[in-house]
C-alpha cells in the first residue's frame, strides 16, 4: 500500500533520505510538467527540477504543515524557473506581461492547432493553465505561488481559456459557440 505524501514528508523531515527520494519521485512528473510550462529548453527544465530537489532537501525541515508540501515544492520550482528565465533575460513579471493578442486579429480561416496555441501563450499563462487543470491547484494557491493578485490570475486563466476555446471550437467546426 503506498505511503501517503504527508507521512513521507514527516519521515523525510526526520532525516530519512529514502522517504525524501520517494517524495521527489512521486512529484517529479508534475514538477517537470510545470517547469515545461515556463521553460522551453529541456535542459533548463532539468536544471530547474534538480535545483528544486536540492533546495527541498535543505529546506524541508522548515515546512510546518506537510499538507502544503506540494504547494511549497511547486512554488520553489517556479522560483527556480524564473531564475533561469531571468538569466536568459526574457522574464517579465506576471503583472507586466502584455495582454495576449486578441483572437479577433486572427484570420477567420486560420485554424491553429491547440498545442501551437499553448506554445504561443506567455509562460505565466501556460503555467496557470497547467497548475489549474493538471495539478488541480486553486486560483488562490496559484496566485500565492506566483506572487500575483488572485484576480490577475483569474483574468489570465479566463482569457487563455477563451482564446484556446475559440481555436478549439473553430477546429471542431462550431465557431458560433465560442463567443
Amino acid at each position: 500500500m503506498p505511503i501517503s505524501t504527508e507521512k513521507l514528508v514527516r519521515r523525510a523531515q526526520s532525516g530519512d533520505k529514502e522517504a525524501f527520494v520517494a517524495l521527489m519521485e512521486s512529484h517529479k512528473l508534475s514538477l517537470t510538467r510545470a517547469a515545461m510550462a515556463i521553460l522551453h529548453d529541456r535542459e533548463d527544465v532539468a536544471d530547474a527540477v534538480a535545483e528544486t530537489v536540492v533546495e527541498a532537501f535543505s529546506q524541508l525541515c522548515r515546512l510546518r504543515q506537510p499538507k502544503y508540501f506540494k504547494t511549497w515544492l511547486t512554488r520553489a520550482l517556479i522560483c527556480n524557473c524564473y531564475d533561469i528565465l531571468r538569466q536568459k533575460r526574457r522574464y517579465v513579471p506576471l503583472d507586466q506581461l502584455p495582454e495576449p493578442e486578441s483572437s479577433s486579429t486572427q484570420p477567420s480561416d486560420q485554424v491553429l492547432d491547440i498545442q501551437e496555441s499553448l506554445c504561443a501563450l506567455a509562460e505565466n499563462d501556460r503555467l496557470v493553465l497547467t497548475l489549474h487543470y493538471m495539478d488541480g491547484f486553486k486560483l488562490r494557491e496559484i496566485a500565492k505561488m506566483l506572487g500575483a493578485n488572485e484576480n490577475t490570475v483569474k483574468t489570465r486563466l479566463m482569457r487563455s481559456r477563451q482564446r484556446l476555446q475559440k481555436i478549439y471550437l473553430e477546429r471542431e467546426g462550431n465557431p458560433c459557440e465560442a463567443k
Binding site: T32, A46, R64, I114, N174
Partner: protein, 558 residues
C-alpha cells in the same frame, strides 16, 4: 455550452499532459540523489555534519551546476597530471567521490605496474554514432593490470568534443565476461541488477565518471575484483562491454554498444593478510582482510536482522584521512549480510592502521563494530566509536564587514574551506561575472590551479554566511535569521569546489590566492590568507524557535 466546455477542458488536459518524465530530467535527478548527504537536516537538532554538508554543498549548489561542477577542475587536472602511458594515474580520484593522497599514490603505482597495450586492431575501434544527433567515437584500450585478485583496464576515448561530465551508460551492453562467463546480471529492461549475483566476491571498481584529458579526449578505467572461482588463475580471457556513453546536459554522446576482448596475465604482487580468526564484535565477524600496493579488501559478515540499514566503512586510516574507496557492496543471503569493501592499496611502508567500522544508522545510531587493521603486523584489534575519527578542517572566512566594504570591481577571498570532503574557495566580487582562473601559491610556488568553468557556481545578491568550526563539525549562521548583522552584505560570489585542494595545500602555511580573467589574463586578485579558523569553537547559542520565518515555506503555509 457545458458539453463544449467539458470537451475543451478534456482537450486542454490532453495537450498539457506529459506522459513520462524525460530521461534528461530523470538522469539529472539520479545524480542529485546520489550526491545529496545521507540524511536530511532535521528541524530542531540538525546534526552538525549535515549542516556542514549543506553549508558547503547543497545550499551552495543552488547556483546551477555546482553539484556537477567538477568540470570546473578538469582543465586543471588535465594540466597538472602526466598523461603519456599513465591512464590510471590520470584517473582523477575525485570521480570516485573522494580525494585522498593514498588513493592518488595507489593509482600511480598501478600505472607503473600496468602493461601498456600496443595500438593495433583489437585495441582501437571507431564506434559508429548510435543516432542522428550523436557522434562517432574512437575508443582505445591502452593499459591493463591483473594480479590474481584485481583487474584494471585503462581506456582512452576521443569523443570529438568537450563535455562537462561524461560517464558510460548502464544498459544491456554493459558487461564483463571472464573466460566467457558474464559477471554482470541484468534486469529485464537491460539495466544492471547490482549486486545481486556478486556473492562470490566479484565487485565492480569502475570510476563513475570519466576524466578529461584535453582536446575532446577522456580517460577512464574499467576495473573489478576477480570472483573467487577465478582467483589467482595465471591467465584470464576478458571481454569488457560498454552500453554507450553519456554526458551531462547532452544525453547519449554515443548510444552504440561496443566491446573489447583481451587476455591478461597474472603478475606477482606481494599481498598482506590479516589473521581474522576470532575477530568479532557486536555480532560482526571479520572474514578476511587483504592488502597489496594496488588495492585493499575487507570482508565481514553479520546476521542481517541485527542492524537496520547499517553503513560499513573501511575508507579511513586511524588519523581520519581517507584511504580512497574503489567500491563495495553488502549482499544478504540466507539471513547473513556480507560486506565487501574495496579501497586503494597501501604503501609498503604504511604504518597507519586501517579502521573498519559498522554504523547502525537506523538502529542504535552508533558504531556497533570497529576493527583496527594493522597490515604491517597482520593483526586486528577491536576498537570503539572513538577510533573512527574525523579529519581536521581548516578555514579562512573574511567576515561580514569585509563583504560590506567590497567596492565595485573589486575581488576578495570570501572563504577558503579546507575539509576532506568538500574543499571550496569562495571569491567575492563587485564585478560582473567572468571566467576565472584561480591559483593557489605557497612559499613562492604555485601549488594548484582551478577554473570556474562553464558551470561556475556564480551567485548574485548572495548574503554573506558566517561559518564556525565547532567541536562537533562546521556550522554556519543563516543570513535569513540574522537580518541586522548581515543586512547590506549582498554581493556576487564564485564558489569553486576543488576536491584536490585538501591534498595539495599545507593548511598550516599562508596561502596566496590569485585570480585572473581566464580569457584576457588580467590579474583580478592576489590575497594572502591564513586558515586560522581551524580552531574549534563551541556551538553558538540556539536559534530562537528555529528558522521558521524564512525560506520558501513561509508564504504558502497557513
Amino acid at each position: 455550452m457545458k458539453r463544449n466546455e467539458d470537451q475543451m477542458t478534456r482537450a486542454l488536459r490532453e495537450e498539457l499532459e506529459l506522459p513520462a518524465v524525460p530521461e534528461l530530467v530523470d538522469s539529472r535527478l539520479r545524480q542529485v540523489y546520489a550526491e545529496l548527504p545521507d540524511a536530511l537536516p532535521t528541524k530542531r537538532h540538525m546534526p552538525t555534519w549535515v549542516r556542514r554538508s549543506l553549508c558547503t554543498a547543497a545550499s551552495v549548489a543552488i547556483a546551477f551546476g555546482t553539484l556537477l561542477g567538477l568540470n570546473s577542475l578538469n582543465p586543471a587536472v588535465a594540466e597538472q597530471l602526466p598523461l603519456v602511458g599513465s591512464i590510471f594515474r590520470t584517473v582523477n580520484s575525485n570521480v570516485y567521490g573522494s580525494e585522498s593522497q593514498n588513493f592518488r599514490e595507489a593509482l600511480v603505482r598501478l600505472s607503473e605496474r600496468a602493461v601498456e597495450l600496443p595500438e593495433e586492431e583489437g585495441t582501437v575501434q571507431t564506434v559508429p554514432a548510435g543516432g542522428v544527433f550523436e557522434k562517432p567515437v574512437t575508443a582505445r584500450m591502452r593499459e591493463a593490470y591483473y594480479d590474481g585478485e584485481y583487474v584494471f583496464v585503462g581506456f582512452r576515448f576521443d569523443l570529438g568534443g568537450s563535455y562537462d561530465h561524461v560517464w558510460d551508460l548502464n544498459g544491456p551492453g554493459y558487461d564483463v565476461l571472464i573466460n566467457g562467463e558474464s559477471q554482470i546480471p541484468h534486469l529485464e529492461d537491460g539495466q544492471i541488477d547490482y549486486p545481486r549475483s556478486w556473492g562470490d566476491g566479484y565487485c565492480d571498481l569502475n570510476s563513475s565518471s570519466w576524466t578529461p584529458a584535453g582536446q575532446g579526449e577522456y580517460v577512464m578505467q574499467r576495473a573489478f575484483r576477480v570472483p573467487d572461482r577465478f582467483r589467482d588463475q595465471e591467465e584470464l580471457d576478458l571481454t569488457i562491454g560498454f552500453s554507450g556513453i553519456s554526458a551531462y546536459g547532452i544525453g547519449p554522446v554515443n548510444s552504440s554498444p561496443f566491446q573489447f576482448d583481451l587476455t591478461v596475465k597474472k603478475q606477482e604482487v606481494p599481498r598482506r593478510e590479516i589473521d581474522c580468526q576470532g575477530v568479532e564484535m557486536g555480532g560482526v565477524r571479520l572474514v578476511s582482510a587483504t592488502a597489496s600496493e594496488t588495492a585493499l579488501c575487507v570482508v565481514a559478515e553479520y546476521p542481517a536482522e541485527l542492524y537496520q540499514n547499517p553503513g560499513a566503512d573501511v575508507s579511513s586510516f586511524e588519523d581520519g584521512l581517507w584511504i580512497g574507496s574503489l567500491g563495495g557492496y553488502t549482499l544478504e543471503e540466507n539471513g547473513v549480510a556480507r560486506c565487501v569493501s574495496v579501497c586503494a592499496g597501501l604503501r609498503e611502508d604504511e604504518t597507519r592502521r586501517v579502521v573498519w567500522s559498522l554504523f547502525d544508522k537506523n538502529g542504535s545510531g552508533q558504531h556497533e563494530a570497529v576493527f583496527l587493521l594493522d597490515f604491517q603486523n597482520g593483526t586486528a584489534e577491536l576498537g570503539s566509536g572513538e577510533d573512527v575519527k574525523s579529519p581536521p578542517v581548516y578555514d579562512y572566512a573574511c567576515g561580514v564587514e569585509a563583504v560590506k566594504d567590497l567596492a565595485p570591481g573589486e575581488y576578495g577571498v570570501e572563504r577558503l574551506h579546507l575539509s576532506q570532503s568538500k574543499p571550496t574557495l569562495s571569491i567575492m566580487t563587485g564585478d560582473k561575472k567572468r571566467a576565472l582562473r584561480a591559483e593557489f601559491w605557497q612559499e613562492g610556488e604555485r601549488v594548484y590551479t582551478a577554473y570556474t568553468g562553464e558551470y561556475a557556481s556564480w551567485n548574485e545578491k548572495l548574503r554573506y554566511w558566517e561559518y564556525y568550526n565547532l567541536t562537533t563539525g562546521t556550522s554556519c549562521d543563516d543570513p535569513e535569521d540574522d537580518g541586522t548583522r548581515f543586512q547590506g552584505s549582498e554581493h556576487s560570489s564564485y564558489l569553486i569546489l576543488i576536491p584536490d585542494l585538501y591534498v595539495a595545500l599545507d593548511p598550516t602555511r599562508p596561502v596566496t590566492v590569485k585570480a585572473y580573467d581566464k580569457n584576457s589574463g588580467e590579474q583580478l586578485l592576489s590575497e594572502e590568507v591564513l586558515m586560522t579558523q581551524s580552531e574549534l569553537h563551541e556551538p553558538p547559542p540556539p536559534l530562537e524557535e528555529d528558522l521558521e520565518g524564512g525560506g520558501v515555506s513561509s508564504e504558502t503555509e497557513e
